[in-house]
Amino acid sequence: MANNLAFAALADPTRREVFERLGRGPQAVGDLARGLPVSRPAVSQHLKVLKSAGLVIDRPDGARRVYQIDPQGLGQIRAWLDRFWDEALDAFKAEVERAPDADSTPKDRDEP
């Protein structure tokens, strides 16, 4: 599942840091590497994992590559909440249609 891949990609603390920095705005690899306690190739490797998890996208900007959070990846997050409500509302529908009508049973009927 896409979200599982995304969460797995964020299990690494440095990768989380890289992702969090991109949350502040698009950045090139060199800018990202500055201030991080890892090498530039390591940052590139983290970005590769984040990209394959669908969390970031990159685009050329002159000679550099600029990375940013993938808006479609964010769509997956909304999809997660969407499924959350699907499950809850399915349960609601089942309960409404299972429960006896109020006018045919005592109003204060409780679950066993």
């Binding site: 995304a6 969460f7 964020l10 299990a11 603390p13 989380r16 992702f19 969090e20 991109l22 949350g23 502040r24 705005g25 969390l55 959070i69 808006p71 964010l74 769509g75 997050i77 909304r78 997660w80 909440l81 969407d82 959350f84 409500w85 699907d86 499950e87 809850a88 509302l89 349960a91 609601f92 529908k93 089942a94 309960e95 409404v96 249609e97 429960a99 009508d101 109020a102 679950e111």
Partner: protein, 157 residues
């Protein structure tokens, strides 16, 4: 060029075989009977979940360890047609009284004595607020919170 990304409102519409009165009653008074036990907050299993039956009422749960967890409150109580709830759980599913997202449920009679239920969860662009980077921890829920934090930052950019 700055880009604004706003998550679309979550909308669900479906029909239930019941009157609006009964649907409203089960949704609210019967909330604890249908709310999935897996959808809980706190460290202990969910014991009860409650929507208090009045505007201004609390929306909260009680876990097996005896701790109450606020989720939000009732903004509008208009049986049997409409219920408006404030969902004040942030991206970490932690209560934040300053966070407002709205859950609206409308119940309308349709042919055959059934009820059309129109559900909305809106204001989702605010979900990341209050979830500070210092609270980011490992694990799936925390990964989720981090994503929402970054989402929030992207939305605000």
């Amino acid at each position: 060029m700055s880009q604004t990304i706003t998550p679309a409102t979550i909308r669900k519409s479906f029909t239930v075989r019941a009157t609006p009165e009964k649907a409203f009653q089960v949704f609210t008074d019967g909330f604890d009977r249908w709310w999935p036990r897996s959808h809980s907050i706190g460290d202990a299993p969910l014991k009860t979940a409650t929507i208090e039956p009045q505007a201004g009422g609390r929306w909260y749960s009680l876990t097996e360890d005896g701790v109450e967890h606020d989720w939000g409150d009732v903004l509008a109580w208009e049986p049997p047609a409409r219920l408006l709830l404030a969902w004040r759980l942030n991206g970490e599913f932690a209560y934040d009284p300053d966070l407002l997202t709205e859950v609206e449920v409308r119940f309308a009679p349709v042919a055959g004595g059934e009820t059309r239920v129109d559900f909305e969860h809106r204001g989702l662009e605010r979900l990341g607020s209050g979830a500070g980077a210092d609270r980011i921890r490992t694990g799936m829920d925390q990964g989720w919170a981090l994503i929402l934090d970054s989402f929030q930052a992207t939305v605000a950019a």
